[in-house]
């Protein structure tokens, strides 16, 4: 799998076009708009949320929700976006042009903080090996109360 860390938008776009060509797929306004929207708003998007934003900023496209789902799947399959599953709160997508990281999530307000920890990654690898597994992926989400929500709670009491 290619590494898209710190890629500029032009590089990302070129990469995307290459993937499309390699798979006999077509480069469309909808696909490009979704990629650029993800790039220019580097936050964690719900499918629905991304759909609404594209619809609002590019009404002339008259984009359909199905296309958003399709394009997100396509981008994820090819490693250009990654997703995190938040159980009840649904699935969120982000562009994959930054180093691997995991997420710290506030259960009160939904705020998401990204972090990376070399040491944990090594331990995960080690655990897999000890159990005879070849590690291919992992999911790590920490849940808690962010400092702002802690304050709010104190004030409320």
């Amino acid at each position: 799998m290619k590494n898209f860390e710190t890629m500029s938008y032009d590089e990302l776009l070129k990469e995307f076009k290459g993937i499309l060509k390699a798979n006999a797929l077509k480069f469309t306004k909808q696909r490009e708009t979704i990629l650029s929207t993800l790039y220019n708003n580097p936050k964690h998007f719900t499918s629905e949320c991304l759909y609404l934003l594209v619809k609002q900023k590019h009404p002339e496209l008259n984009i359909g929700i199905a296309t958003v789902y399709r394009t997100l799947s396509l981008l994820e399959e090819n490693g250009l976006v990654s997703s995190i599953s938040l159980g009840a709160q649904g699935k969120k997508f982000e562009i994959a042009n930054k180093p691997h990281h995991d997420h710290l999530i506030c259960s009160e307000c939904g705020k998401i903080v990204e972090f990376e920890n070399e040491q944990i990654e090594r331990l995960q690898q080690q655990i897999a090996e000890e159990n005879g597994f070849i590690l291919t992926d992992h999911l790590m989400q920490l849940y808690g109360i962010c400092s702002e929500c802690q304050k709010k709670k104190e004030d409320g009491d």
Copy 2:
């Protein structure tokens, strides 16, 4: 939250009855059967899978799938069962009478291996603190290929 580690079934049942009473809820055959089925088959159950098992072993109850969902939610809310979300493969439940652990999952055959790692737990706590969060929970799942599926793949090639 109470700690249900290594509780016997009688203790667990007593705990459950206490929770029900405290919330003005009733002790029913369906609820008891679901708890005991989880206790006596300490594996990771899909809602559907648990429903089928109870239906088969206790046909006289004529249990409905809705009751299984309702009871699992009730048990989870009160910490007597815990669940893991496996994205596409759905949600699995297990009884919470053993120490905290995380899961190593084979992407090929769905096998689940449980593990615990003190060191990672400490690092998670530390990461939360560094970001001003009070850590309340975490989710860690490692995905890979188990040794059997590795062998199968070799033979297949």
